[in-house]
Symmetry: C2
Subunit: 356 residues, 2 copies
């Protein structure tokens, strides 16, 4: 099988980690019978400055027509408002209907906390306040701006469904490796603020409950948490959680909070997942402060490559990458500065390639 | 001076901690020349079940006409949607125009983290998604619900202004007690998500910057953080922050996150502050699981009593309470179960009264 992968480095260190991710794909063992072809695509603030658009039509078209999946680096946000600029990753998620943003975090050697953490946030990726329908009026007391938060039954149902499926497949992995986890039952925690937003978040809550009450999910323990309590609990007992499903904005916030629990953002991957497409995307930003120094941590990208492969049905190839990355981290000899090490991006890449 | 205080215990353990808070006020040393009179007022889910409204007009009227301040306990949220019910504290904040929700957290003995944390979140308390303007339509793919997020220049300006004032008064307290803190300059961090919500959160950001650029705030270091990064940073380096100012919903989430950093929610106070009124409110909820056991932690309420007094211009009385509470915690002999102790609410109260 040959997979065609779009490469969208974006800005800043995106241009350092995405080429490293490509190398990992190219170096997968031939026994996997998996080949890759690549196409380079533009997006980001740099692209906006050159062409007037942060997400050229050509990028979207090529992804739609030619590609099976993609890797996205990071984009810089302008520090003051720039007319006409808006985030290309947010637009891409919507245009390709990549309705789930999946962000697993696990305790690793670099982590400062005691108990093992192994959870995934499954964030709705197409609506909520990210519909970006805003307006501003000039009132008697100055400006008043409004934004629409939109929650649909359809999007809530499918995000809860994929959260349920992810919970089942995580349990299957645990069952296949007895002794690696004390968790015996999959769990999904529905996050919302329906005590204030009874209609929008109320719809999310009810619909998620309905989706997760399907026969195929009968082994799943379903709980819910109000978003503010969820952040509190996430800090106090992160090891308790398995799969957390949330509307777009809460998911954005919760997944950054979860990343903080396991050390550097440079470790945390994500995948933007639709029915037939997946984009791997490291959770870190474009990090202009270290751009060009060759010391950006490529681990989040490697894991995002693996996550993309999982959602493209290539779990074996993904497992190879996870194992190689864990080997690198456990060994601890080649770590980038964000992890307290002195290694360069290239050295981490070489070490991971050796372990593939 | 005699202050008239409305007592609104609400539901659950609110009915245990508010009477304890009243006792603290009644027991303040007479040298302070401060007297109190009290009026009991209804609100909450229990009130809703009895009367059909969670916030009787009489409660609002009495607060407006007779009272200088109030103490609010907690309210239970129904576990499923109940027609006609909506949170009385959210309504109260709006009806009394208590536009700032102030939540200080400090490291105490009970905390599990190393570095000292001493920060306060200043949350806008009257608008954002809390305007609760929602509607639901039946579309071709099922229900679609929308909520309005409203951000005004006026509310953003005044919340940033009070955040600046709080930053200055915190610095004055530090300056008056040299050696207690390494912070030499007040700092305010503006939190928003203007990279996605350029109009609403953009307005908050710009207006807060404008408010904080006033001459009187020239000693303040002003920074900003996107809300997801803010949660990440709050977990990674909480000791860095001083005053965090945020729109309503982000403030709700951030203040719970901050509370998690310093141990039990049972320690964290808040005040709902308007131009001439303040309501002290512990951050914890109604805790139905421990209701009636007499073991609820009254510390958050005592600190909320003190915070209310500060905003009513009685900083000396407030300081007495803070010192008594810190004495109780440092001593560690009378701690409630949430703090790992075995003391009852009454024992903690008695211990704090002795220290007043
Ligand atoms: C850059 C920003 C628009 C984006 C988001 O809010 O989704 C980022 O925070 C993320 O989580 O991928
Ligand atoms: C109970 C709820 C409506 C309330 C809020 O969201 O403001 C609570 O979380 C708080 O922070 O006081």
């Amino acid at each position: 099988r040959t997979l065609r992968i779009g490469l969208i480095p974006g800005d800043g260190i995106g241009r350092e980690v995405i080429p490293a991710g490509r190398k990992v794909l190219e170096s997968l063992p031939s026994s996997l019978n998996l080949k890759f072809s690549f196409v380079d695509l533009d997006a980001g603030f740099g692209t906006f400055q050159k062409t007037g658009t942060a997400l050229p039509d050509k990028t979207v078209d090529t992804l739609k027509k030619e590609c099976d999946g993609a890797l996205f680096g990071a984009v810089s946000s302008p520090s003051t408002k720039v007319a006409g600029y808006s985030s290309p990753i947010v637009a891409l998620r919507k245009k390709l209907d990549l309705y789930a943003n999946v962000r697993p975090v696990r305790t690793t050697v670099g982590s400062s906390r005691g108990n093992p953490i192994d959870l995934v946030t499954v964030r709705e990726n197409t609506e909520d306040l990210y519909v970006k329908e805003e307006r501003t009026i000039e009132g008697p007391d100055g400006k008043v701006a409004e934004a629409i938060k939109r929650i649909s039954e359809r999007a809530s149902f499918r995000i809860a469904t994929i959260a349920g499926e992810i919970a089942l497949s995580r349990q299957a992995i645990r069952d296949a490796a007895p002794g690696t986890s004390t968790r015996t039952q999959p769990m999904v925690t529905i996050t919302h603020k329906s005590n204030v937003l009874s209609q929008t978040d109320g719809l999310f809550r009810e619909t998620a409950r309905k989706a997760l009450s399907a026969e195929k999910f009968s082994s799943i323990h379903v709980e819910e948490q109000i978003v503010d309590s969820m952040v509190y609990k996430l800090f106090r007992q992160p090891e308790y959680y398995d799969v957390i499903v949330a509307p777009n904005l809460y998911g954005d916030i919760l997944s950054d909070g979860a990343a903080a629990l396991v050390g550097s953002l440079g470790l945390v991957p994500s995948a933007n997942v639709g029915d037939n497409f997946a984009i791997g995307e490291p959770c870190h930003g474009s990090a202009p402060d270290i751009e060009g120094l060759g010391i950006s941590n490529p681990i989040a990208t490697f894991r995002s490559v693996a996550l993309m492969l999982e959602f493209l049905g290539e779990a074996n190839a993904a497992a190879k990458i996870y194992t190689a990355v864990d080997g690198n981290l456990d060994d601890g000899k080649f770590l980038t500065p964000d992890m307290g090490g002195k290694a360069t991006t290239q050295q981490v890449l070489d070490d991971v390639l050796k372990r593939l």
